[in-house]
């Protein structure tokens, strides 16, 4: 079937729903397509909060500076100015939509402190801020009557003469392929956390949209910038929100020492995430860890603060580790959490491909540069979701309707049918996925070097070769997850390969990218983005784009 819309949004997390809402307001025919129901999206897992300079004594310029410093001067400062100056209006709009933000004694929005921020400017709902925002936006989508194709899995972008004209999808319920033909497509499909094992990300974070855009010819940027969150739970790797430290939790090593005083004497535990994750990695490597972890100590906060402001992580630590954080410190370690890189866009979410837009974690504007500050990602999704919704609608109103697509639908049906009948040769998606994740965590993690990275590249390419013989172990048409897992693994391998290429290319240490063989930041040669574009039949093309500097020249970065 071919279904027509003006704008199709791929992904139903915060960026996707905000984009769709904006497009609906602009009066275009918009639909969302998502491989899970909207409220299952991973935005719901964001715990700590959302940043905006709304308070007395704060300003968007200070927020911008904190963000740029946090990015290790790799963020494009014009984009950061857009995000931080529009943040207050977006937060207020969320409040008007019904988000039950925490209030101060005057009944106005209240804040908490967060990492890398010089002012307390994080607005929150307990430690379920992402969930509260996600549901409020879902409610708004229902109110606006936006069409959602839920549990539809995307297999390819439809590109005609270099212009994006839609998305091909499998309806999971029937196994049928359908072309969602549209004048514009917004990729808002989130990150690629599962490329790493372990990761704080949900099992659905497999970089689908990033890989689809890359395969269609849109360039990716700063893929080497992978954020490790300093506090992920021992073993399972679940997220222990930065809000714990925002509320005053300590990080301790095996000697009971608040070791951050040796790495970030001023900000201590609230230094930016790359700094804290490196400190923990060093502590553990030098033998001051406990079984590969350090301790997150909240006991001094008391039961009341923990239960009222951090109930979800209290529950997670209890469920998965049997630790009651009211009574005992929680073992944590740095774990893969977020990617700063993604599909290269401008401040309107537009990629270089006409008709193709991107917003949220899958996009790289770039506002996070080498390291994202906590509580800036929710903000990113809303500001650039809204902007891409507006820009794509404006574009869709100008271009004529598309009439082709039948041949592409037939070709995709054939490709999927061939995949379904591929014979079993011993390779499974599960084994390859695990190998990939373990490899990326070991060699493309907090610290990297040339030897490890070239090994990683060879290994990823070998996995890509083996991937060609992975069979689909389920022949049913209805809700065939084996098929979608195989397709996801393909996306993950593309994301992994570009990440390794980026990491090999950047021969300096900046933000989350720490090269032990190039330990210094090199502003003379590397104040630029690494841009990767797919080339048929060979390694990807690598270009560079200078960082946009407006008001804040790079300085030494201490916390």
């Amino acid at each position: 079937m071919i279904l027509d819309h003006d704008v199709v949004v791929l992904g139903a997390g915060l960026a996707g729903m905000r984009a769709a809402l904006e497009a609906a307001r602009q009066g275009v025919n918009v639909a969302i397509v998502s491989k899970v129901h909207p409220v299952r999206s991973h935005s719901g897992a964001a715990q700590g909060g959302i940043n905006a300079a709304l308070g007395v004594g704060d300003s968007w310029e200070i927020h911008a500076f904190d963000t740029i410093k946090g990015s290790d001067y790799l963020a494009d400062q014009d984009a950061v100015e857009v995000m931080t100056s529009e943040a207050p209006q977006d937060i207020i709009e969320l409040e008007h939509m019904g988000v039950i933000f925490y209030r101060n004694e005057e009944g106005k929005l209240g804040t908490r402190a967060f990492g890398g921020a010089s002012k307390a400017r994080t607005y929150f709902v307990g430690d379920i801020t992402g969930q509260a925002l996600l549901y409020t936006l879902y409610d708004q989508i229902l109110k606006a009557g936006v069409k959602v194709y839920e549990e539809w899995f995307s297999t390819a972008l439809y590109v005609v003469n270099g212009t994006c004209c839609g998305v091909m999808c499998i309806d999971m319920m029937t196994g049928e392929l359908h072309l969602l033909r549209s004048k514009a497509v917004i990729i808002a499909s989130g990150g690629m956390g599962r490329v790493y094992e372990p990761s704080t990300n949900a099992l659905i974070c497999t970089g689908d949209g990033i890989a689809l855009a890359y395969r269609a010819g849109a360039p990716l940027m700063d893929m080497e910038m992978v954020q490790y969150h300093p506090t992920t739970l021992k073993g399972s790797g679940f997220l222990m929100t930065e809000a714990a430290r925002g509320e005053g939790a300590y990080l301790l090593n095996a000697d009971g020492e608040r070791f951050m005083k040796r790495y970030a004497p001023k900000m201590m535990e609230l230094a930016s995430r790359d700094v804290v994750s490196r400190a923990e990695t060093i502590e553990i490597a030098e033998g001051r860890g406990i079984d590969g972890n350090v301790l997150l100590d909240m006991r001094h906060l008391g039961r009341d603060v923990i239960m009222s402001k951090l109930p979800q992580i209290h529950e997670i630590a209890l469920d998965f580790l049997g630790v009651d954080m009211v009574k005992d410190p929680v073992p944590v370690r740095p774990g893969m959490h977020y990617i700063m890189g993604g599909v290269k866009t401008d401040v309107h979410g537009a990629t270089i491909m006409p008709g193709l837009y991107a917003a949220g974690e899958c996009a790289c504007v770039s506002v996070h540069g080498g390291n994202r500050l906590g509580a800036n990602s929710l903000l990113d999704t809303l500001v650039f979701g809204r902007r891409s919704g507006a820009a794509s609608s404006g574009y869709a109103k100008k271009v004529p309707a598309i009439s082709s697509g039948g041949e592409f639908l037939t070709a995709e049906q054939r490709r999927i049918a061939a995949l379904m009948t591929r014979p079993y040769t011993g390779e499974t998606h599960a084994r390859l996925r695990l190998e990939l994740g373990t490899l990326m965590d070991a060699k493309v993690g907090v610290y990297r070097d040339a030897t490890g990275l070239s090994e990683a590249l060879a290994a990823v390419q070998d996995l890509k070769r083996r991937y060609q013989s992975v069979a689909v172990g389920d022949k049913s048409r209805v809700y065939n997850q084996a098929l979608t897992f195989v397709l996801e693994l393909g996306y993950m391998l593309d994301c992994a390969e570009t990440t390794v290429y980026g990491a090999i290319t950047r021969t300096e240490s900046r933000g989350a990218h720490s090269r032990t063989d190039y330990p210094q930041r090199d502003d003379v040669n590397w104040l630029k983005h690494v841009v990767i574009r797919k080339q048929d039949g060979g390694p990807p093309a690598i270009d560079f784009v200078p960082v946009t500097i407006t008001k804040w020249p790079p300085q030494e970065r201490t916390y």
């Binding site: 899970v36 129901h37 409220v39 299952r40 991973h42 719901g44 897992a45 709304l54 207050p88 207020i92 409040e95 008007h96 939509m97 019904g98 039950i100 933000f101 925490y102 209030r103 101060n104 004694e105 005057e106 009944g107 106005k108 929005l109 709902v125 307990g126 379920i128 969930q131 509260a132 549901y135 409610d139 229902l142 109110k143 319920m173 029937t174 049928e176 949900a202 099992l203 659905i204 399972s236 679940f238 979800q312 997670i316 469920d319 998965f320 049997g322 499974t428 998606h429 599960a430 689909v472 172990g473 389920d474 022949k475 049913s476 048409r477 209805v478 809700y479 997850q481 084996a482 897992f485």
Partner: protein, 334 residues
């Protein structure tokens, strides 16, 4: 250790064909046949049910389908029946539910099934949509960078519902839903409370009127199943009871639910015990003869089973003390 997982499987070679004329369940004319399949998995003692299912899906049988994403009770995907109760697979420890090392998982029988452990959540989402689950802004909306000024306590009152992850466990095991598929259901009514009690909402009274309609908030029978199933402490029944209070106080009393509650309270106030014989006529309306006639077969069956309440209703001793309590409570029952 070694765990035995018994999985209720529904294989389906062709897509389900919706059959709107039959309502739900099942909305499909070709509900697939169920069979149980035994799997054995080697996992740590503290592993979750979901860990076992993922291990099976990844290394034993790729055709086993189960929804899951976050693995930590945030996304709400993995609601299913575990040993006959609606539970989240991701936070249910095998060791807590296993009987001799064995756990049974299946799609909840109250919901239409798509395949294996994947049920059709459409009824859940439809009910959610029914309660107008969005803020209807109180006017004027604050201008510029101004928020609505409301006390933090008013926001904290709503956080219990906002913790809901739409896993659907409450609906899956709801006793009222089992009998009346049109019942709005626990999660949707909790959501209804969340917007009704929001001081920024403009249509509180209309909401209460809508929710007081048949199949709405008076359809709940207080079985507490939703409270005990909910993995996030939402306690949907508590939210329903708060809504009922608001509805009665707002004057929405002309319905069977309110009449039932009032008749119940009156009987206790005046005699110290429940007069079951007058409860039904007073609930449906004393002059609602058709509804009373419809109840006759039930009364007849009760009579046969020796369950009919005594014809003559006796007061308890010192009933004036009960009256004094009612007087002190005040409100509509005094």
């Amino acid at each position: 250790m070694k765990w035995t997982i018994e999985v209720g499987r529904y294989d389906r070679s062709q897509p389900p064909r919706p059959d709107a004329s039959r309502g739900y369940p099942p909305p499909y004319e070709d509900a697939p046949a169920k069979r149980y399949q035994i799997f054995e998995v080697e996992l740590e003692d503290h592993a979750m049910v979901l860990d076992a299912l993922i291990a099976i899906r990844e290394y034993q049988d790729e055709s086993l389908v189960v929804r899951c994403a976050c693995r930590s009770a945030i996304c709400g995907s993995c609601g299913m029946w575990i040993n006959g109760h609606a539970s989240l697979a991701c936070t249910t420890k095998l060791q807590d539910v296993a009987v001799n090392g064995k756990v049974t998982v299946e799609s909840p029988p109250s919901m239409p099934v798509i395949r294996d452990l994947v049920c059709d959540m459409t009824p859940f989402w439809q009910k959610n949509l029914k309660v107008r689950p969005w803020l209807e802004n109180k006017q004027p909306i604050p201008q510029g960078l101004e928020e609505y000024r409301v006390p933090n306590a008013a926001m904290e009152e709503l956080i219990q519902e906002v913790s809901c992850i739409s896993c659907g466990l409450c609906l899956m095991d709801c006793e009222s839903f089992a009998i009346n598929k049109n019942f709005t259901g626990p999660a949707a009514l909790a959501k209804a409370y969340r917007y009704t009690a929001d001081p920024r909402d403009a249509v509180t009274s209309q909401r209460l009127g809508d929710y007081s309609e048949p199949d709405g908030l008076w359809e709940c029978t207080h079985c507490y199943e939703c409270v005990s199933r909910c993995p996030k402490g939402v306690a949907p029944l508590d939210q329903i009871l708060k809504l009922r209070r608001m509805a009665v106080e707002a004057g929405y009393t002309n319905n069977a639910g309110t009449r039932h509650a009032l008749a119940f309270a009156e009987s206790v106030r005046d005699s110290g015990r429940l007069n079951e014989l007058t409860l039904m006529p007073k609930s449906v309306g004393l002059f609602n003869i058709p509804a009373q006639l419809r109840a006759l077969p039930t009364a007849f069956n009760m009579l046969r089973a020796g369950k009919l309440p005594p014809i003559i209703h006796h007061k308890i001793p010192h009933v004036e003390r009960i009256k004094a309590i009612f007087k002190k409570i005040g409100g509509i029952f005094k």
